[in-house]
């Protein structure tokens, strides 16, 4: 016996209206049926939004649905400035109106499962979206099983603030409420994780906050690594701008946090323990939960991909971009997400036309603020090699060490312009 369609007629119709309005061609009355190919995007962050737009630019006949439960996105880049009281969280919010103007249908729902054989995504309200290609861009989730004592409840006391939003504001409030002379502890995770220079930019801006507002306080970074992105630049900045205020404890010197007691704000390491006034625990991470549900995440928690097309190595016709993907040498950043989105859109447009995808070259640049008006940067160029995205030797680099203040100030302006440009491209 055939099962009756589980589609509630109203949502089907309203969805269809949206699609008909957005797509160039009107189709038969089945969900997402169009004359052109259908691409469904899961996740509306930098990767998903940039991808949806780039694909529309490639070919307006492709119908693109962006499934994202939130009405707006809260961007992570620059959110460390929100924590340090230098910026309003409102400056991090971006809606999907611009995407809808481009003919992309924003479906404010959650994907609950994907039938890869039928090429069909099922949403929480039982609406089904058929696709030719599915693009998964779920970003990250915290691994609340990684540090004993650090679960979702503990994150309300020791915020991670590693997904921008309420957590960002919670950490800011805790810093503002802290008494002068308090100890701030940042626990930095092992690789790979979102935004490799992020914990150290955060340390710099919190140090600036402490120096100007609570000068008797101290900041310790407990790190599960022995080295980190732009390390020399950060260490130089800390020594020059915040002498005696920032202490970095590497893995070898007991930096790995092995347990936390959130109510007591205590962090235990292999060689001791620290009682913090404010604790910011950035735990190990994994691809956003939907990746595991769809079956595109492997045992590492991240998603293996073909580096030329970003197609999943585990599920055919499904592509993964942004932080969730195993990017090889490419760091997990908004710039990377945007670059991968554009490369993936080009590849998918070619695949849908029956053409061979070309091998892309991708660029990443990360700016980090070391003070409100000073920044340092790192850049890299990447291309597929040996089944991974590999760095093109000699093509990238970092800001110079020992540069005059004017260079750092100029880079802070570039950082601001970069944020304007990328958010405009993804959401504007």
């Amino acid at each position: 016996m055939r099962l009756p369609s589980r589609l509630p007629p109203l949502s089907r119709r309203s969805l269809l209206r949206g699609l008909a309005a957005g797509a160039a061609a009107l189709g038969a009355p089945t969900v997402l049926a169009q004359s052109g190919p259908r691409v469904v995007v899961v996740g509306g962050g930098f990767a998903g939004a940039s991808f949806a737009r780039a694909l529309k630019r490639e070919d307006r006949a492709i119908s693109v649905a962006l499934v994202e439960p939130s009405e707006h996105y809260t961007a992570c880049p620059m959110s460390n400035a929100v924590i340090a009281g230098l910026r309003d969280i409102g400056a991090q919010h971006f809606g999907y109106g611009g995407l809808e103007d481009d003919g992309i249908v924003h479906v404010p729902q959650r994907v609950v499962r994907v039938d890869a054989g039928q090429r069909r995504a099922v949403l929480a309200d039982d609406v089904m979206l058929d696709y030719d290609r599915l693009v998964v861009a779920p970003g990250i989730d915290m691994r609340f099983d990684a540090i004993p004592g650090y679960d979702a409840a503990a994150a309300e006391l020791m915020p991670h603030a590693w997904k921008a939003g309420e957590q960002t504001l919670l950490l800011r409030r805790q810093l503002e409420a802290m008494e002068d002379g308090g100890l701030v502890v940042i626990s930095a995770p092992p690789n790979p994780f979102r935004c490799p220079p992020g914990p150290y930019e955060r340390a710099s801006l919190i140090a600036h906050f402490l120096k100007t507002r609570k000068p008797r306080s101290k900041l310790i970074i407990l790190d599960a690594k022995d080295n980190f992105s732009k390390q020399k630049l950060f260490e130089q900045a800390w020594a020059e701008l915040y002498p005696g205020l920032v202490e970095w404890v590497s893995l070898s010197f007991g930096g790995k946090v092995t347990q936390v007691d959130a109510p007591a704000r205590t962090l235990t390491t292999e060689f001791g323990s620290h009682k913090a006034a404010v604790a910011n625990v950035i735990p190990p991470q994994k691809a956003g939960a939907i990746a595991a549900t769809i079956g595109v995440a492997d045992q590492t928690g991240w998603c293996p991909i073909d580096p030329a097309t970003f197609e999943s190595r585990l599920v055919p016709n499904v592509h993964v971009i942004g932080d969730a993907a195993i990017g090889g040498a490419m760091p997990k950043s908004a710039f990377t997400a945007n670059a991968q989105a554009k490369a993936c859109a080009t590849a998918i447009a070619r695949l849908l036309r029956g053409q061979e995808p070309e091998s892309p070259k991708l660029i990443n640049t990360c700016y980090s603020l070391i003070a409100p008006d000073q920044a340092v940067s790192i850049a890299g160029v990447y291309q597929p090699a040996n089944g991974l995205l590999s760095e093109v030797q000699g093509a990238g680099g970092t800001s110079p060490l020992d540069a005059p203040r004017s260079v750092r100030e100029e880079e802070a302006l570039y950082a601001r312009d970069w944020f304007e440009t990328i958010t405009q491209e993804a959401f504007g």
Partner: protein, 106 residues
């Protein structure tokens, strides 16, 4: 002098199995690497590590060139009586670094 870090519980019950950790800041230079001048960088590693508990050796290990810089050792022993844990690292030149931790057993 190299920096060392050791960790043992301050107190334990008699018969309890306790975790002990020890780390030394050391390059563990393998002797197989070439320097920028094209000359081999001479080998310099920790050769031997040992831990005594109240004068009696409870753990020892031979280290080899494949071990990482800043070698970290974790092991367990049975708390028998109050006393001193002493740690000893010996390098290729015979130079010895030591550290200690006290444990009170009830």
């Amino acid at each position: 002098m190299s920096r060392t870090l050791v960790s043992a519980p301050k107190t334990a019950k008699a018969g309890e199995i306790v975790d002990i950790r020890a780390m030394i800041a050391h390059p563990m230079e393998t002797g197989y690497r070439m320097g920028p001048n094209g000359q081999a960088i001479p080998r310099k590693i920790i050769r031997h590590f040992a831990c005594d508990y109240d004068g009696e050796e409870v753990f020892s290990a031979e280290f080899h060139p494949a071990m990482s810089a800043n070698p970290f050792v974790a092991f367990s022993t049975v708390a028998t009586k109050s006393g001193m844990l002493t740690f000893r690292w010996t390098d290729d030149d015979g130079k010895i670094e030591t550290a200690s931790a006290e444990i009170a057993v009830s």
